[in-house]
């Protein structure tokens, strides 16, 4: 009886293995060394933010700035969302005039997303990790 219970508990990981999605199994077969980390929560947030900004630059969407909602007129980051959105659409000069730091910001965010998703890749030396 106890032997049977032990066997069923041993079977649980196998069942979980079997229920894994085909994509994950394909990924494991393609990359035996684990290159692709599970998509990190922070990476998802930055990706969604970038897509949202890219769409916003086209449709001139709603502002989300908490300082603006509080009634302040200026902050050092004012216009950077617009600038990143314009840079994503390829409009460099308009991006620069919206906020000069838009393109560097986009580069840093993309680097962060890639580092979070593929931890084994090293784009910069460790002392200069962006």
């Amino acid at each position: 009886m106890s032997q049977a219970a032990f066997d069923s508990s041993q079977a649980i990981p196998n069942r979980r293995e079997a229920s894994q999605s085909a994509l994950l199994r394909l990924n494991r077969r393609l990359f035996p060394v684990r290159v692709f980390n599970k998509l990190n929560r922070e990476a998802i947030i930055w990706l969604v933010a970038l897509v949202w900004l890219g769409l916003n630059a086209r449709f001139g969407g709603i502002g989300l700035c908490p300082l603006d909602a509080l009634g302040f007129n200026h902050c050092p980051g004012c216009g950077i969302g617009h600038s990143i959105g314009l840079a994503l659409r390829g409009d460099v000069s308009a991006s620069w005039s919206a906020h000069p730091l838009g393109i560097p910001a986009l580069a840093v965010l993309l680097n962060r997303i890639l580092l979070l998703t593929f931890p084994s890749l090293k784009f910069f030396p460790k002392t200069l990790q962006l």
């Binding site: 929560r41 700035c65 969302g81 910001a105």
Partner: protein, 121 residues
């Protein structure tokens, strides 16, 4: 309780995930080497509570210090120059500070073990 476990428990604000990772990484060394690696790790480690406090500093106007402390110079500069991406980035990091800190600490633990291995070889 053996001295290695005692040393691990002495680290401030140790969480389950970090402790399990630490035990896994240390498992390949013998006990005196484990203690040496833990001493190196104690200096490299970042306390999650300090990261939380530095993130809160961003709400007072000086954003991005936690990113500098975690070794992310680019993100730190971006946060510092844009007021924490207009406070939104700071608020995201207030949710996410444990994960940020855990990533840094896992890297630090792996480096500490690698250092001890190189010295012992």
């Amino acid at each position: 309780m053996n001295p290695v476990e005692k040393e691990i428990l002495l680290l401030p604000n140790m969480e389950g995930t970090e402790r399990i990772f630490l035990q896994n990484v240390l498992g390949e060394l013998n006990e005196p080497d484990q203690l040496t690696a833990l001493q190196i790790y104690r200096n490299k480690r970042r306390d999650p509570q300090i990261i939380l406090l530095l993130t809160l500093l961003g709400l007072a106007g000086v954003a991005g210090v936690h990113r500098f402390v975690l070794g992310q110079i680019g993100m730190g500069l971006l946060y510092f120059l844009t007021g924490g991406l207009c406070f939104i980035g700071t608020i995201i990091d207030l949710f996410n500070y444990r994960q940020l800190c855990l990533d840094f600490n896992q890297q630090a633990a792996a480096e500490a073990v690698a250092t001890v291995k190189i010295v012992r070889r």
